[in-house]
Amino acid sequence: MFFQQLINGLTTGSAYALIALGYTMIYGILGLINFAQGEIYMCGAFVAVLLLATGKVNFITAFAAGMGSAALLGVVLERVAFRPLRGAHPLVPLISAIGASIFLQSLALLLFGPNNRPFPVQFEFHTITVGDVVISALQGAILLAALILMALLMLFVRYTRYGKAIVACALDRDTARLMGINVDRMVALTFLIGSALSGAAGIMMAIYYNATYPRMGLLPGLKAFSAAILGGVGNIPGAILGGLLLGVAESLGAGYLSSGYKDAIAFVILILVLLIRPQGILKGKGH
């Protein structure tokens, strides 16, 4: 039971971690919560599912297209809802992001209807049984894919010119500008990368739960934000750690306490973290 819940928790936790990375990177560079992150996650899932449903594209192409459209949506969002408001009172972009999130959610509801869509491709996954723990290869694949994406991001941030430029902007935007870094382009790049990761998470969870629907991004988005806070906002390894921990805590809580209150666990953790250690496990900058 314990190990089973642990594996389930790590699987959903890897999706939270991918979304939390988007939150953390954008928070790091702009000091702003992108409330529409959950809708970007939903967009990735919908594009992949709709493309696959046509039966004309293979899985890899659909996955890439889903990530690509999520990334595009993120960049457009930055241009429309955030850039015009840069420099205003912090309340203003926050409310604007909430508006964008509501807009996208209702747009998806109008375009695609409220019903769940199953994932169009059936995978034949083997299950491995160790003792009384059942691990499906799907869970393994999701975890592996998430870890690869996270590793790529860490390498990108640490070793490439653009990655270092993003870090420089996050540390001090004005100094970065003086050093000749195009801050606007780096902000757009951050939105692009963060949104692509969220899109990937959306597709993975669409496969895992076999459900894609307009409001699918609401709860994972909020929980991923809790994960980002838990790990320390603005801290990339922190977001990964926070996401995985939150997924496990939620899964164990649902297994041992009460499944009816599963969705409340993340917020209870959030409030506790804010009370006890507002800077998060690994120290973040947002407090």
Binding site: I33, L91, I95, I98, I102, Q105, F267, V268, L275
Partner: protein
Amino acid sequence: MTAYILHLAIMAGIYIILTISLNLIIGYAGQVSLGHAAFYGIGAYVSTLAALNWGLPFPVALVLAILLAGACGLALGLPTLRLKEDYLAIVTLGFGVIVDLILLNLDITGGPDGIGGIPAPVFFGVSFRAKPLYLILVGLMVLFTLVLTLRLVHSYHGRALRAIRDHEVTAQVMGVNTPAYKIAVFTLAAGLAGLAGSLYAHYISFINPETFGLHTSILVLSMVILGGMGSIVGSLLGAVTLTVVPELFRRFHDYQDLAYGALLVALLIWRPQGLLGGGKMSLKFITRRE
């Protein structure tokens, strides 16, 4: 037709109380609450249970609703209001989800089916079931809220709040206890939302968790932004407009949330002082660039 207009007027009155209370948080304390409907719901459920299960008279149920909603606001505000403004938005949103889950899972709240048969208020043997009488009751409560908030906003405390909103560090340097002020305003606003919830429950006489979800929180937020952040009169106009206009466009009901979302973004970009808040009601802090 008269009954329909009376119904709209009563609902507008309830929304005015909600909008003004949220505006205290946004326009005066400079914070965002996305769980305002949860306090509204707590007020409605507490008042209902007090009247139905314990047989308490309406005024006692009303006061209980205000106190309990306020207490929840205090409990939520204490850990979060000391931090940056974004945290409150997420925590209140999460609080809304938690309250929704509790209402759906408890036996005493009737789960998703809700509770029906809530009695109308009775004063001195007179039942306020009739719409004109209820409108008078709601009108008095709106007046009470207006007087309370206008007095607050124009007092020493109101000036302290505006100072916090405009520049928190400066306010602190001038000796304003900023966390205490923010927590006090948040508690007051939660209590007022509880008042609105009680009025709603005893008017409609049936409540279920659906009414008190995120949709309502967003609706009230839209009313505040439309009327203008930090303008009490603007809140009045915003609440009335967004109660009446959707009724005129009933056919486009499906597009309502879409419109609210677009409205929020568009207003903040082009008219951050609110559509109805003119020059005098505008807030310089919103448009000022640092």
